[in-house]
Every structure is written in structure tokens, then in C-alpha cells.
């Protein structure tokens, strides 16, 4: 049986390939490569088919323009070694701590502005700045209960931070479902590795949400607030609610009375204490924000300000993941924590600076331009791939609204082999680790969502742009190897034969006859 997994590495690009160091396989991927090489092509293809249909059957889907699609997952996992992960873990924690400090300060006394680390105008000019958030002081000091930090790996293999998401970061459900899916199609490959588990996320999230409950509530009621079944991330909202064992509510299930939030149940109105909301600020409360929004519930913000309900994540967090503020995060880490950033930013130009803008306008055709409030890859212009007229439009746009854009060099994202057109070909990936802050510590889920750009050479990995995903394996380090528990020997002795008392009539009949037949054979003439 010849191995038919065809590997088609591409040595032509500058990108860092996570599996191949030139031609050799990197040590993290050794076991993966050799396990896969024992599979034949037909077997692999049938596993790929199983993987493709299993997400449709399970409803692991997302919605694009009203059409429900299976979340694409590639069969080949992405592997991150223990040392690399330790750096990511430390770097993500550090960023979340710094952003928490910044949010508290920016909506509080504003020390950071007075000390000249960051101009106040950079914050108040952000579209995500909400004065409505100013009066709300979180019980346990947490505003970013959940954070998703987007990382990329540059040509040298260094992890860099591409952006922070501290509003409603999504994708963690796919981290958990991807692991289960790969576990079912590549069990022998998975068991050849020691991979840190990801299934503990919902419990960690629930603990953090409960820890954020209003003062004096001993047994808080936590709910997940979703915009509804047509939201692209509805699957995730449902999965989180289900795995935390809490209600998934829509705005119409809630009602605010006298500064308290209640939900409509079959037994009348019941109090709600913590809302893990997956609805954007602007749609959350028509009294404070968009008056035409039916997704939230009128009065939520007042209830939060009165301290009767906790919104997670907090309102107004958008100033911390605004892409202009992003350029200051390394300074914020030094300022608030007195530490050097563990993970560097991608080099970024602020277009409000005249000198930077001059330089960027001269080099538009070689840079990436991003709107500061864009998400999901929206509005990004990749200079080398843009047409003349696009660049001209962009130039005018930047001159008119310099605050609205940042510029970065084109970073060639690292690649991981991905099944495409019958072979494993290098495709660009990024990584979104998820962090949960319970007020005492920031915990980073070991893994994260690896998104992969399926078209060759494509650098935008968002699923709304046709991107796929990979299961992400963080290898357990040698030092943390758990002592293998010795199997309890013969605690429950196996019965030597089926007890007749536990068999029903049919089985009794069957075994009785079988025994008789065996006896007959034994008493029959021997083969002598």
C-alpha cells in the first residue's frame, strides 16, 4: 500500500512555513507527518469527506447573507510548540492586563492623557468611544471578560500582534468543535501527540462571568444575549449557552423594570444578573444608542450603571481595540505595567502624523491600508494588489480622514500545509488565541482559532471572505508532563460469564441453545 498523501511544499515564497524548515520537517510536525504518511490516499480522502459533511449534520455553521454554510475546517492541524506557546500566553495576558488598565483610566481620571502617553483626542475621536460607559464601574474591575488577540507569524517566524478584539470576539466555538472533529477523523494521529485540551473554556468563561456579578448576589443568573438566529455567529452563541448551561436570550426575552433586568419565562419574569452579550454596543439599548434597534433591550445601560446587572464585555471597550489605539499598546504596556511587550506589534504608521502620512502616501502601492474601525477584513486595501484608481480613491480618502486609517507593511503571513486540489499545499494562516479575565487572573485558552486563507497566495483569512480554519494543537511541554496514573487494577472484577438472571427471554433462549450446541460438538466424535 503506497502512501498517497501528496505533499506539495512551495519553496518559492518568503513566507515562513510552519511545517517545513526549507526541505526538512520541523520537530513539532514530525509525528504528524509520519502518522499521515501511513495513510493511503483513499483513506485520507474518505476522512476529508467525513469531515466536510459532519459540520453540516451537526449544524456547525455560520450565516452569510441569510445563507447557512458549514464552517470550513481543514484536515491538517496546525501545531504550536510549548516554548512558542509560553511566549504567546505571556504576551496575550500582558496585553489584556494593559488594556484593562487603559480602559479603567480612559473612562476614569485619564492619567494616561495627563502624562502625555496618548493624546486624549485619539480616544474621544474614536467611533467606539461612548460617554454612556463613563459612569459604569465594574464590580471586580473587569471590562474585558473575554479577549481575542489576532496574531500572525512573520518571515522570521516571530509572532506579532495584528489587532486586539475586546468587544465581542468570536470564533472560540470553532476551537472546541474543530478539536472534536479532528479527534474523530484522525484519532491515531492525535494520540501520537500530547495536546493541551481546549474543552475547559466554557467553565472558565462561566466562572469569570459569575465572578463579575453585581455585589450581594450570591448565586447570579448568567445569560448569553444573541442578536438571533440570523446572526453569523449564532452557532457560537448557542454552543456557549449550552456548554455553560445558561439561557440564550434575545432582546425580546428581556425587560428592564426599575433599573433591573428580567427575562420572560414560563413562570413570569425572572431576574438576570450577568449578561454575556454578543450584541454590539450600538444595538444594545435603544434608549442610549440606536433608537431603531430591536436587538437589545431598552434600559440595559441604566441597569448596568445602577450596578444591578453586569454587561460582559463592558460597553465602550471599542476604544481599546480601535486600530489607532493599537499603535499605542506597546507604550501602554510600559506605562501601566512597567514591562516590555512580550509580543511586538506589526510596524504601523499613524496617518494623523504629517511626516508618517507623507511617507505612506508616497508608498501606497507597497503598504496595507486598514480602516481603524473595520472588522472582518472589511475595507482593507492591499497596496501591491490594488489598481491605480483604487489607490487614487484611497489617497483622497486618507487626506480627508487621516484618523480613519492606519498603514502597515505587507507582512507575508506564515503558511501551513492545507488540503487543496488533491494535495497538501502551503496556505497562509493567522491565529486568534482567546483570553478570559475573571478579575484575579487572565487565562489564555491553549490553542485558539487558526484561520486559513484557502485561495493560493491570499492573505485575508476571514471566514466571511471564504477563509477556512484548522484545529490548533498546543503541545504540552516536557516539564509539565503529568505522571501517568496507573490504572486501578481489577476494582470491578469482570463477570466470568453472563449471569442468567440479567438476560431477557430471547437472550436466555439464545445462549441456552448455543451452550447446547457447543456441548453437542464436544460430545460428538472427535477428529481422531
Amino acid at each position: 500500500m503506497a502512501t498517497a498523501v501528496e505533499w506539495a511544499p512551495d519553496h518559492g515564497t518568503r513566507a515562513y512555513d510552519e511545517m517545513y524548515d526549507g526541505a526538512a520537517v520541523r520537530p513539532e510536525y514530525d509525528a504528524l507527518r509520519s502518522s499521515l504518511d501511513t495513510l493511503d490516499g483513499a483513506d485520507l480522502r474518505s476522512r476529508i469527506d467525513t469531515l466536510a459533511t459532519s459540520y453540516l449534520d451537526q449544524g456547525v455553521t455560520f450565516d452569510i447573507g441569510g445563507e447557512e454554510r458549514a464552517f470550513p475546517i481543514d484536515i491538517l492541524p496546525r501545531i504550536i510548540g510549548a516554548d512558542d506557546w509560553a511566549r504567546i500566553d505571556a504576551g496575550v495576558q500582558q496585553r489584556v492586563r494593559a488594556l484593562e488598565a487603559f480602559l479603567a483610566d480612559a473612562y476614569g481620571v485619564g492619567r494616561v492623557f495627563a502624562d502625555g502617553v496618548l493624546p486624549r483626542s485619539a480616544v474621544v475621536s474614536s467611533g467606539a468611544f461612548h460617554r454612556e460607559a463613563a459612569g459604569i464601574v465594574p464590580v471586580n474591575g473587569v471590562r474585558c471578560h473575554v479577549a481575542g488577540t489576532d496574531l500572525i507569524r512573520d518571515e522570521d517566524g516571530r509572532f506579532l500582534v495584528l489587532e486586539d478584539n475586546v468587544r465581542v470576539p468570536s470564533g472560540v466555538s470553532y476551537v472546541m468543535t474543530n478539536r472534536r472533529a479532528i479527534g474523530s477523523v484522525l484519532p491515531e494521529v492525535m494520540s501520537a501527540h500530547r495536546i493541551r485540551p481546549v474543552a475547559g473554556y466554557p467553565q472558565a468563561l462561566l466562572a469569570a462571568l459569575r465572578a463579575a456579578a453585581p455585589a450581594g448576589v450570591a448565586d447570579p443568573t448568567v445569560v448569553v444575549l444573541t442578536p438571533g438566529v440570523y446572526n453569523s455567529a449564532y452557532f457560537e452563541h448557542a454552543l456557549l449557552a449550552r456548554t455553560m448551561g445558561v439561557e440564550l436570550v434575545e432582546g425580546r426575552d428581556l425587560e428592564c423594570r426599575r433599573g433591573r433586568v428580567l427575562m420572560r419565562s414560563t413562570r413570569g419574569l425572572e431576574p438576570v444578573h450577568v449578561i454575556y452579550r454578543r450584541v454590539d454596543d450600538e444595538f444594545l439599548d435603544p434608549v442610549q444608542f440606536r433608537a431603531d434597534s430591536m436587538l437589545g433591550c431598552p434600559g440595559l445601560v441604566n441597569a448596568a450603571r445602577a450596578g444591578n446587572v453586569t454587561l460582559a464585555n463592558a460597553i465602550g471597550n471599542g476604544i481599546a481595540d480601535d486600530k489607532l489605539i493599537y499603535t499605542y499598546v506597546p507604550d501602554l504596556i510600559r506605562y501601566y505595567l512597567g514591562e516590555e511587550p512580550a509580543l511586538p506589534n506589526v510596524e504601523t504608521w499613524r496617518l494623523g502624523d504629517d511626516a508618517a502620512r507623507e511617507e505612506v502616501l508616497d508608498r501606497l502601492d507597497e503598504l496595507v491600508l486598514k480602516p481603524v474601525d473595520g472588522s472582518g477584513g472589511k475595507g482593507i486595501v492591499i497596496g501591491p494588489a490594488a489598481s491605480r484608481s483604487e489607490l487614487d480613491r484611497l489617497r483622497a480618502e486618507i487626506c480627508a480622514h487621516p484618523r480613519a486609517w492606519i498603514a502597515q507593511p505587507v507582512v507575508s503571513l506564515s503558511t501551513v500545509p492545507t488540503y487543496a486540489d488533491g494535495a497538501m499545499r502551503p496556505r497562509h494562516v493567522d491565529l486568534r488565541p482567546f483570553a478570559v479575565n475573571d478579575g484575579d487572573r487572565v487565562w489564555v485558552l491553549p490553542g485558539g482559532l487558526t484561520r486559513v486563507a484557502l485561495p493560493e497566495g491570499e492573505l485575508i483569512v476571514n471566514s466571511s471572505r471564504g477563509g477556512g480554519s484548522k484545529d490548533t494543537w498546543v503541545l504540552a511541554g516536557r516539564t509539565t508532563r503529568p505522571v501517568p496514573a496507573s490504572a486501578p487494577a481489577a476494582v470491578v472484577p469482570a463477570p466470568e460469564q453472563a449471569s442468567p438472571q440479567v438476560a431477557g427471554p430471547a437472550l436466555r433462549d439464545l445462549t441456552g441453545r448455543q451452550a447446547q450446541q457447543e456441548q453437542q460438538q464436544q460430545t460428538g466424535p472427535g477428529p481422531c
Binding site: 453540516l56 449534520d57 451537526q58 449544524g59 448569553v224 438566529v229 449564532y234 452557532f235 452563541h237 448557542a238 454552543l239 449557552a241 449550552r242 439561557e247 440564550l248 436570550v249 434575545e250 425580546r252 426575552d253 425587560e255 427575562m263 420572560r264 419565562s265 414560563t266 413570569g268 419574569l269 435603544p286 434608549v287 433608537a291 431603531d292 430591536m294 431598552p298
Partner: protein, 308 residues
Amino acid sequence: MLSRIAESLFWIGRYVERADDTARILDVQTQLVLEDPAANEAATCRAVLSIMGARPPGDDDLDVTRLVELLAHDQSSPESIAACLQAARESAWRARETLSEPLWVAINTTYRAIDSGSFRAMRRDRGLRWVRDQAALINGTADATMTRDEGWQFFVLGRTLERADMTARLLASAALSPGHAWTTTLRACGAHEAFLRARRGLEIDREVVGFLLLDRLFPGSVAYSVTGAERCLANLESDAHRAGVESDARRILGRARSELEYRSVNDLLADLPGAMDRFQRSCAAATDAITRHFFAGSEALAWHGTRQ
């Protein structure tokens, strides 16, 4: 439990039962037309459509193929199996976080076979058997994996109410159609063997009606189903008073059941279509009462989009 979720579970129960019953009815009726040389195909098909509350098409060329298209595959007609299973899936998607994983997968894969066209591609009898199998799979999975909490009570409430209603529809139609309708009706209810054993094969109208309406041990009978629905309502109102009946729905169902139980079968037979029509109205009234009592919270939207 959220009112909205309770309502979804109630309707999952109903839709799955409706798809199941519709498949049984179609299976039996199409076979009947096939086996009986005297059958008037168009008239039978028209009668089946009217039992199901579906509007017969205006043209005259109504045959079994058309009937199956309308009641099994046509997603635009709300009575069809395809539409019911799609609606069940829609409700399940809305209540996704409260369903067990295997229950959700059972409902979702059933719907996917409709969405992908593989249900339509099946031979007729195989397709109808597939629907019954899937309904059994869904109900069995629910039975084995759902906690007996409120959600379960609503699911079973929907199923039992729908079943009582469907059996009543079948009895009414049997009374209207001539000939072998009683055997057909028994088979459509999946009750033929049970009936033969319980009543020793006396297939006369009095016995069949007595069995399908009032048998206390057969799960497809009207009395059994209504009693089940009443029990669900009682469980849902566990903090009710010791005397009297709390909710309108229970009162309506209890009265409808007594109406059947305390009349003689001969009396019922004399005006079976009328009695069944009254019973179906009671089922509809009970559904309204349940909706008002338990699900009302889910519809109110007070905000009118003006800043105060």
C-alpha cells in the same frame, strides 16, 4: 425556562408528530387507491387533502402522484411533510442550546435530507417509511436524552395534542368515506395489530371508533393522547392549588375528553364528523390557551423606536 424556548419545544413536538402522521396517512391512502379497483382516485385524494386541512388544487387532474407532491414534498404548502420537518428544524435551531446534541443532530440530519433533495429522490413507499423512521429516531432520542424538566413537558405536550388532533381528523374522514375506511384508518394510526389483539378482530365501526377514541392503553388513541397532554399541563403547573384546575388549557382538554368518554359510542357514531369537529376546535382552543398562558411573554415588544 424562557417562554420563547418553551414555545419552540412545543412546536418541535407538534411538527415531528404531524410529519409522522401525514406519512402514515399518505402511505395507507396511496396503497388503498392502488389495491381497490373501485376507488375513485381523484375523490379519495380530495378527501385526504381536506382531512389535512389543505386546499385542493383547482384543476381536476388530482391523482396520487400529485397528492404525494402536495403533502410530502411541496415546501410551499404548510401541510407538507417537508414543510413540517423544516419548521421543526427551524424551531430546534432557535432552541439549539436547550436540546441535547444527539437530539439536535437527529432533527438536523432529517431536515438536511429534505434540503438536499434526497427525500424527494426516494421511492414513494421508502420515502414515507423514512419519515416514520426519522420521527421514531427523533422521539426516541428525545426520550433517552432529555431531562424531564419543563422543556420535556412542552415537547410531549405538543406531540400528544397533535396526535389527538390527527386521530380525530382520521376518524371524521373515515365516517365520511364509504367502504373499507375502518381498516384503513386503523392502519393509518399504526393501530391495526393493536386493535386486532384488543378487540379480537371485530372490525365494525362501533369497535374501531371505540378503540381509536377511547382505548386507555393504546398510545395513538384520542383519550390516551389527551390524558398525556393533561398530565404535561398538570406537571407544568405543579404549584397549582389542591382544588380545581388552574389553567384554561387543562379545563378545555378535560372537558373535551369527558365529552367523549361519557357519551355512548353509539351516540358518538350517530354524529361522528360533528363530534370530531368539536374536538378539533377544543384542541385549537387549548393551543391558544397554552400560547397565552406560557408563551405570551415572547411576543410583547414594547419599544417603538423613539428616544425619550
